[in-house]
């Protein structure tokens, strides 16, 4: 892990020149090409899609410093489906947040296609979150004031200014409708989150995460609040997305059965990587 990390960071340093202005277009371009299977296979060996390297992170609670991550790292290739398991407090959510730029590491780096992204300016980080990452949370986190359709459209509303949104509003709406159809919620678009069931809300949250066409889906206990049947449905949706759309998924869970659905399971204990289990069969 350590060796690999340093090699990548050397590459990243060589890569640093044209950066950061045309960072986003380049990733968009790559994601388009990645629809084909073959270039992904070749890229896979050289540059992982995302890697978090030797992350250390601690929180200050009152006067005490509570360490959460001690040099934990995680690397995901394009199209990979990774489960992160561990006990409560093992730092798995924090690792996910650091990878998704919701939080910044005290020590360590987060690389996206070999380029460091954790030290970018706030506005670039906001844009990356909007374009590259899709989040799913345990408590769905849909905005209670908006209808399901509006919730799903939110990432694109954030992306576009008022004018360009107005120009593209039909297109965006159609896009949202398509995605909602995909997750089987087209009949609930006018409903508020409070009028939906847990499974519906989570599927709505997945739809919201997908509308921005992210590179990486970061799921924080997506089934944690659902019964096993509904959780199974959600997991099916996720696996399907991973298989059909080659969506890279990093999922945090403490449910072993759920974790088994992934290609690979990363175990975290006390802020460190314990084991990495490969399971090619999904």
């Amino acid at each position: 892990m350590k060796f690999r990390g340093s090699a990548v960071s050397a590459e990243a340093a060589a890569f640093y020149g044209p950066y950061p202005c045309d960072f986003l277009p380049s990733t968009r371009l790559m994601s388009n090409t990645s629809q084909h299977q073959s270039p992904v296979e070749t890229l896979k060996m050289t540059t992982p899609l995302i890697s978090a390297l030797a992350i250390e992170k601690s929180y200050v609670k009152g006067q005490h410093k509570v360490p959460v991550l001690h040099g934990a790292g995680l690397t995901a290739q394009r199209g990979e489906f990774i489960s992160v398991v561990g006990q409560s407090g093992s730092g798995k959510s924090t690792l996910l947040h650091v990878m998704g730029l919701l939080d910044s590491p005290d020590v360590g780096e987060v690389l996206l296609e070999g380029k460091r992204i954790d030290n970018l300016q706030q506005s670039s980080r906001d844009q990356l979150r909007n374009h590259v990452f899709g989040f799913i949370f345990q408590f769905y986190h849909l905005l209670p004031e908006l209808t399901l359709l509006e919730n799903v459209m939110t990432p694109l509303m954030i992306r576009h200014s008022f004018l360009s949104y107005w120009k593209k509003r039909k297109e965006i709406r159609q896009q949202a409708m398509d995605i909602l159809q995909q997750v089987g919620l087209e009949h609930r678009i006018k409903h508020r989150p409070s009028e939906l069931s847990g499974g519906e809300m989570q599927r709505g949250a997945i739809a919201r995460a997908l509308i921005a066409r992210p590179e990486i889906l970061l799921a924080d206990e997506p089934t944690g609040n659902l019964d096993s049947a509904t959780g199974g449905e959600i997991m099916e949706t996720l696996t399907q997305l991973n298989e059909e759309n080659q969506l890279t998924i990093v999922m945090v869970t403490h449910d072993e059965a759920v974790a088994q659905k992934a290609h690979r399971i990363v175990r975290l204990a006390e802020g460190r990587i314990a084991t990495v289990a490969h399971e090619e069969a999904a």
Binding site: T94, H97, G100, L102, D103, Q122, S123, D126, Q127, L128, R129, N130, H131, F135, F137, F139, H141, L142, L143, P144, E145, L146, E150, T154, P155, M157, I158, R159, H160, S161, F162, Y165, W166, R208, A212
Partner: protein, 540 residues
């Protein structure tokens, strides 16, 4: 885009925001109502202050005045004639009046300002007719108690109304009866006129009476009566009892006539039964009063004479109504010895302009036209500067106080917004995880504040304007509910609450309220924008 959507959605769904809107609305409405009423009152006040003052007044510096009113007016005409609509000469002197309360017989003496006018001329330079009691109805609580005694199209003059004549005749006859039956000795102290030897320019100088003797006594009436106007065709039921005075009509009014400021001889009394305030007049038109003033000689000698009250006037300004006594000009000039060799002296000329905006130019020209040191030329605003600035200061202070109301609403918004930010912490985290920038989150809350301000102001403006428009109906309603008059026209002299809506003021109030709402949302919005997304998401 999401900012606008969320902001609108928050406005619609957060009922707690309604409290902010209501507080902004109430503040704005109150400010508009109070400002409009204040402006209405101020306007009315200005009109009333202006009331007895002409636009521009030329005043002599000495009490004896300047000679030859015709020539002085010609000077004025020559200097600034093109601006002048009308002018009238007047004589203004400090004086005292003495009158007795008809009920208790008690005698009162009061200092006043005596103004000699020509009613026709005075009516041209300012409103006189509308102020005179006999041209107005008496209205009490919406009921007309008395119709105008004179038709509105007649010019004001020194004639008594029929009403006053009847009253005077009645009073005189009562007095004569009373004197003959009970105090037959009153005839003895017929006073020798003390102030004789005035320049005998007038046709009669026989109107002087001794100060200690009250003018209502028939002796004085006899002594002073020259009956120039009283028609002899009175029906006299007690003629037989007063044969001695038959030659001259004892009930005819005196040659000195006055309009009395209505507050001089009246007071407000509370009816012991109903508890209502009502006005008690101690002197009525047709009564005689005694006036004491000074002659125009140096050093000034005091003089006294009796005068018949022709009318009462009410300008609505207590400065005037409690101070001024208007008298026929020639009579005052004669009494003060201001007529010399056919030339009459005056103390001031009141001038009405076509357009008051020219007043500065007129004042400048008139100052140049008169020899230095003889006259003072001033506009009415300069003469009443203190009063006017007091009104302005009052308005300004009230505005500051009222703006604090809106500031209170601002703090309400601040508190409510902090609550909303706490409530929305999770949503803020979600938005940030979806890529919303801190600025974006901040602008949600700023535009939320703006929205509250705009909605609150709009509602406040609407309510305020409606309130102002229906203020008299509202006042009636309140009076009906509380059972006592909220706005007593007897105290304020207005039949309606005067209002004046100034569009600029409304605009400023609305803008100020919106600005306060936005300012109050700055702190919560900053706090929201600085929330750490992870911490916000953890918030359950």
């Amino acid at each position: 885009m999401y900012k606008i959507l969320l902001c609108l959605r928050y406005l619609r769904t957060r009922y707690i925001a309604l409290a902010s809107i209501v507080s902004v609305m109430l503040g704005v409405a109150t400010m508009i109502v109070v400002n409009s009423v204040m402006a209405g009152f101020t306007n009315e006040m200005r009109d009333r202050i202006h009331g007895f003052l002409a636009d521009v007044v030329v005043e002599s510096r000495s009490m004896s005045g300047i000679l030859d009113s015709q020539r002085q007016m010609a000077t004025v005409q020559g200097a600034a004639g093109e601006f002048i609509a009308a002018m009238t000469p007047t004589v203004e002197v400090p004086a005292m009046i003495t009158y007795s309360d008809p009920v208790s017989g008690e005698r009162f003496t009061q200092s006043i300002q005596l103004v000699g006018i020509d009613p026709g001329g005075k009516a041209q330079v300012g409103p006189l007719k509308t102020y005179l009691d006999s041209y107005n109805s008496i209205i009490d609580e919406g009921e007309v108690l008395r119709r105008p005694l004179r038709p509105a199209d007649t010019d004001p003059g020194w004639e008594l109304t029929d009403h006053a004549k009847t009253y005077r005749r009645m009073m005189k006859q009562q007095q004569m009866l009373f004197l003959q039956e009970e105090t037959p000795l009153t005839g003895i102290p017929v006073p020798a006129p003390q102030f004789e030897g005035q320049p005998a320019s007038g046709p009669a100088s026989d109107d002087d009476v001794a100060p200690p003797v009250f003018s209502d006594t028939p002796e004085n009436a006899v002594a002073t009566d020259e009956a120039p106007v009283a028609p002899p065709d009175f029906d006299m039921p007690f003629q037989s009892s007063s044969q001695a005075e038959a030659a001259a009509d004892p009930t005819a009014p005196l040659s000195a006539r006055v309009f009395l400021g209505e507050q001089i001889t009246s007071f407000q009394a509370r009816d012991p039964e109903t508890g209502k305030l009502h006005k008690v007049n101690m002197v009525n038109p047709g009564d005689d009063i005694l006036i004491t003033t000074i002659q125009s000689d140096t050093p000034p000698e005091p003089i006294s004479f009796s005068a018949t009250v022709v009318d009462m006037f009410r300008s609505g300004m207590s400065e005037y109504d409690g101070q001024l006594v208007l008298m026929n000009l020639e009579e005052l000039q004669r009494n003060r010895g201001m007529i010399l060799n056919g030339e009459d002296a005056i103390t001031s000329i009141q001038i009405k302009l076509h357009n008051y905006d020219d007043s500065d130019e007129v004042v400048k020209r008139l100052r140049a036209a008169f020899p230095p040191g003889t006259v003072t030329v001033s506009t009415w605003e300069a003469k009443q500067g203190l009063l006017l600035s007091a009104v302005e200061v009052e308005t300004a202070i009230l505005n500051v106080l009222l703006f604090m109301i809106i500031a209170v609403a601002g703090f309400g918004i601040l508190a409510i917004f902090f609550m909303i930010v706490v409530e929305k912490t999770r949503d803020i985290g979600i938005l940030k995880s979806l890529g919303a920038s801190s600025k974006g989150v901040m602008s949600i809350f700023l535009s939320y504040g703006l929205g509250l301000g705009v909605v609150g102001s709009a509602a406040g403006v609407a309510i305020g304007l409606l309130f102002v428009h229906y203020i008299n109906e509202i006042e009636d309603g309140l009076s009906w509910i509380t059972g006592r008059k909220v706005f007593d026209e007897k105290i304020y002299y207005f039949f309606e609450i005067p209002t004046q809506v100034n569009p600029l003021m409304v605009m400023w109030v609305a803008l100020g309220a919106i600005a306060i709402a936005v300012l109050a949302s700055v702190l919560p919005a900053r706090r929201a924008s600085r929330l750490h997304p992870v911490r916000a998401l953890r918030y359950e």
